[in-house]
Amino acid sequence: MSSDAMAIPNATAEARPWVEVVHEWVTTVDHKRLGILYIVYALIFLVIGGIEATIIRIQLIRPHNDFVSPQVFNRMFTMHGTTMIFFVAMPVLFGFANYLVPIMIGARDMAFPRLNAFSFWLTALGGILLYFSFLGGNGLYGAGNAPDVSWWAYAPLAARAFSPGPSSDYWTIALLVSGFGSIGTAINLIATILCLRCPGMTLNRMPLLAWLNLVMSGMVLITITPLSAAQIMLLVDRYLGGHFFDTQAGGSAAIWMHFFWIFGHPEVYVLIIPCFAFMSEIIPVFSRKPIFGYPVMVGATICIAFVSLSVWAHHMFTIGMNSYANSFFAITTMCVGIPTGIKIFNWLGTMWGGSIRFQTPMLFSIAFLFQFLIAGLTGIMMSSAPFDWQLSLSYFVVAHFHYVIVGGIIFALFAAFYYWYPKITGRMLNESLGKLHFWLFLLGFHLTFDVMHIPGILGMPRRIYTYEPRPGWETLNLIVTIGAFIQGIAILVFVANLIYSYFKGPQAGNDPWDAWTLEWSVSSPPPDYNFAVIPVVASRRPLWDLKHPEDPDSRYE
């Protein structure tokens, strides 16, 4: 217990020099600490990305506003998107996976602890490199500053001819580096899950969180790498005079789009699948029933993984592909909605006939179901290519993907925070603050992102630093901005809760939620070595079997 970094404060422990504590954290290879590092890192960038979003929304509060210049605005939406995807969503999900997966499968650490640390630091330093770009100042007419080519960095815009300074290179190299970090963590997760499960834990008995992180990691291997390849090609163009995306030399602008979206679409499934994992752990516990249809949940996820590799060009419906290509991608996109919808039904089936408790994790989970349903349905609207010819590149699609990312991923993440914070820190998060956070965030989210669909329908494209005074656009943009501020306040409440509860929250004990997976069998926080004795399991819910020896799951599986 002597090197328990998350030991409850005020417990009897010698005061150690802070240098020693920092050194321990910087050199750690313990999956739990690396998980915490990932999560804290992501939270910091969540606030930064949120500030960037707020700047965007203030600029758009009225037409012809001049809160920021177009150059700054373009940097804001580029950095906001890039930060949120690569330095908030990916790290926080890897952080939770890092922390939870080994414990949930009865292991003592990940398969490759040093690779784990290496991957974290690659990601972390990639983010710092990206933000270092802001220090470039306004040299070269601002081309030396932060990237402003949008998070897609479409060539030719990102090529040397149209982005002469190093700003695009910051984007490229920061993402290349952190991409390698992601691949490292994915390799680690797969090896851990396949090779370090405790005795008795067959793949058929693994918690769904482990299964879904396995699928997600497999996807990462073949999802991030096309982006890495495209970025290497972009660097070849920019520094070695290559012509991959040089249309003057016969190169193709469309091929960047293909490579980017072959990464970009599966990437959003990489982001949502761990959130499905959280839901699949939390909803059963708060409904007091096992997950409905475990094998189908696994199968549907694998299905999603495969089908999502075939839908990428639904982001390119407007580039003038022929009708057969457009039809193909329309139908594959509709098809990927089927296994996804099935999962929603399975969660519904889990709640059905249960005894639902409405603590904060469950509130966020129910909101997730509702919002993810809507997000999926607006996705289906856009899968219909002609409809997409109007909706794409407008605020409708911005509303859609924020619905998925904020309404889906962030809500699921908040649920996960409230659910596992007791395990990680040993203290419960304050329930009243949690509910306040929930309702505020729900209000702000819906105010912003429900309304945001409408300007898109009224012809407002995305990525514009200002707009003409068209009827409807002004009021709607104002409402959207107000909602953003409310969300900001809710986040502050959340951060306050995190900090307050760390010092003053009630002790959690091993198993505050009366749950059934292995992480609830160890202390909160877990000891360094996770398990004194490696557990042996006989069913999907080992703690249910222990708590209900008269009716164990092992009898029915």
Binding site: N188, T225, F259, P535
Partner: protein, 198 residues
């Protein structure tokens, strides 16, 4: 509730999970294959689309000898790994050394070819689409060969210091997986560049 095992649950008699090194290497190979696939797709897509400059047909010469070198190195590394499993350290080292030699020969062949292309035919990475895609694809592969050779050499040095024995065979097998991957990629690159692309 600190121990999960109830008295009734015993360790299953058979609980053998795969070796994590092999799984990790397989994952790395899958990831690298995806990168190579994108470069191959770009190469194929841009065939015949160069606006100027030398075409593949005009300047490429099929490197049969050096290909045979590289592919044979797969055989020698396989044999080396086998020898190590039987703890024949000396034979292992010899075969391992031959593998490195063959790999180095291959790199030398690539260097020679590039020298010829640059100085005799004026084909560089910035000349035209063919130049860009060719040097990128073949260069990416050569980089992977180089990294492999570095790893192999490290093992050779450890072996010469007599620190590589049968206990290391799993790790050696994992490393040779990487080397086989590099060879397999060459089969694909060779086919795409020198057969299909001409």
């Amino acid at each position: 509730m600190s121990a999960v095992t109830s008295p009734a649950l015993e360790r299953p008699l058979e609980w053998k999970l795969p070796y994590r090194g092999k799984v990790g290497m397989a994952c790395l190979i899958i990831a690298e294959s995806a990168i190579f696939t994108i470069f191959v797709v770009a190469y194929l897509f841009y065939l015949g689309k160069s606006v100027t400059g030398p075409t593949p047909r005009e300047v490429l010469e099929t490197p049969i000898f050096f290909t045979i070198c590289l592919l044979s190195s797969s055989l020698t590394i396989h044999l080396a790994a086998k020898e190590l499993e039987n703890d024949h350290r000396k034979t292992f080292l010899i075969l391992w050394g031959i593998t490195i030699l063959l790999g180095a020969l291959f790199l030398f062949g690539t260097a020679m070819e590039w020298h010829r292309l640059i100085f005799e035919h004026g084909l560089t990475i910035s000349t035209n689409l063919f130049g860009t895609t060719y040097y990128s694809l073949v260069g990416l592969h050569a980089t992977h060969v180089t990294v492999g050779l570095v790893m192999l050499t490290a093992v050779l040095l450890f072996g010469l210091a007599d620190r590589v024995g049968v206990e290391q065979s799993a790790r050696i097998a994992t490393l040779s997986m990487y080397w086989h991957f590099v060879d397999a990629v060459w089969v694909v690159v060779f086919t795409v560049v020198y057969i299909v692309g001409r």
